[in-house]
Subunit: 342 residues, 2 copies
Amino acid sequence: MIIDCHGHYTTTPAAHQTFRDAQLARLDDPGLPVPAPTAISDDEIRDSIESNQLRVQSERGTDMTLFSPRASSMEHHVTDPATAAAWARACNDLIHRVTGLFPRNFAAVCQLPQTPGGELTGSVAELRRCVGELGFVGCNLNPDPSGGYWTGPPMTDEYWYPLYEALAELDVPAMIHVSQSRNPDAHTLGAHYLNADTSVFMQLVQGDLFARFPSLRFVIPHGGGAVPYHWGRYQGLTVRMGRPPLAGHVMGNVFFDSCVYHQAGMDLLLRVIGPGNVLFASEMLGAVRGINPETGSGWDDTKRYADRAGLGEHDLQQVFEDNARRVYPRLDAQLKSAEAAG
Amino acid sequence: MIIDCHGHYTTTPAAHQTFRDAQLARLDDPGLPVPAPTAISDDEIRDSIESNQLRVQSERGTDMTLFSPRASSMEHHVTDPATAAAWARACNDLIHRVTGLFPRNFAAVCQLPQTPGGELTGSVAELRRCVGELGFVGCNLNPDPSGGYWTGPPMTDEYWYPLYEALAELDVPAMIHVSQSRNPDAHTLGAHYLNADTSVFMQLVQGDLFARFPSLRFVIPHGGGAVPYHWGRYQGLTVRMGRPPLAGHVMGNVFFDSCVYHQAGMDLLLRVIGPGNVLFASEMLGAVRGINPETGSGWDDTKRYADRAGLGEHDLQQVFEDNARRVYPRLDAQLKSAEAAG
């Protein structure tokens, strides 16, 4: 089985955005009524998935995608908690319906109703609802709700502890994923995403978060930002700063996904980080769509790169399946239950 | 000849910091007298260089370092223009003395007196003084004077044009280099430096700066941040965004240095970007000092990685020398003049 740990519902029916637009309009004009999520039929959802993510799964030979709401649309920079809560709920409910319609192909990962500097009570409640009531197997966690201005505390700060306690209790990991950049200096897809991955990794090097939360697990997407390419820098800095070696201090709890869109990058990731800390992922249909004219295949067809990275069968099995089952034990349980049911 | 395009004077005599401390003290207490740079003898400078950068040059077999003031001490977040001007002048004068004492081993690159959102008049004047009067061959340019909050405009904005006009007229390149991070989310050496490299590259993809300034040249340090590792992402985004191909749009004017501190990273850089756009650099003695216990050599001994990257003689010659002479024509002229003088 090939598990893709990183996919977003980027092809939602238009009615979903209509609801969001109504939310934002009401923030501008509080005299407007509180909008309710627009009705979307099962057929509309089926169409939006079958012609997109399900088609690509089939073409590329992957089996199961961990599926979450569109990252750039989480829009945690919008400060109103009630708006954030209703938006996250609507987004997550839609993901739940996708996994209900295609249980063999998608497992659910939720969006949290974060706001810049806001209390995490609502995020903990939505996490509990999604995991406890709806069968979600993980969440996305935004380290910069301000959207590119980095006005909040590092991920090692006590601010985040209520959420970490819930993650540990529920035994689900968080993928560290920012939303859209509001800052013209940092393009969302070409800078902000990667910079966030890099910054958070270094925060974890500086802090001692996993001493406090030994079972907490983070997936850092986009191949770990700049980190694997600069692995020597991090090893050297660790020594210079008197931090414990990365292996025990960070890499027992941190995993990189494989969203690196060329062969040389994938080769480096697997060579430097090793197959034990890499989870297969493509983020299709995501930031980078279209065909590389030099190879004739999709830029984000990361399975091709992984297949050609020279890994042995055991290592490839870890990257494609075993690591994901280990990092997402609720996914593993669901898969085993489905296998037992035939 | 092996030219290291990226070195900072990180080992200045203590008196230099005494001056800086006096500057900052006066900002807190304007009743204090305006400080003057503390006297430093030639012998103190010689000692600080001979036992450090010159020793390492000799040990590693490199010949010439492009030498600029300590990057993290540029402190462009300090908003007072007069303080910034006096500090940049003192830092640059010290670099000028180093190159006067060791003209065969160091060429001078200057710091600009930038301030967050401040006019660039003082920066243009200091650039002209350094290049026109003191023989400097390039400058460092900080894309985020705010120190990690990114409150200014992108590098493609007209705000920067007066400086670009001066760079073009003087025919000197700028190394894009931030100073210390004031933001606890982004560690200076482990996140802010790399993120800045990544963000600026993407700004250049988004904009059309080199159509407006066809002779302008930027060196993006630290191996180009995350960019080479994510080269497929940038190629795919370029197509998706309808931007021109990177080769003509950006890579005719942008060069990456080779400050990547492990073999796999160097291999990727040279494989993906190619020897025509990489300038040899180590940033010794910089962010990452000390010995890698697995190899027994310095993390930042990038010459070892470059030597082992499998390049042919011609390609290695480009990376070690020819590209630097091309990107820094005033360095080339100085070297030719010194060679002619025997």
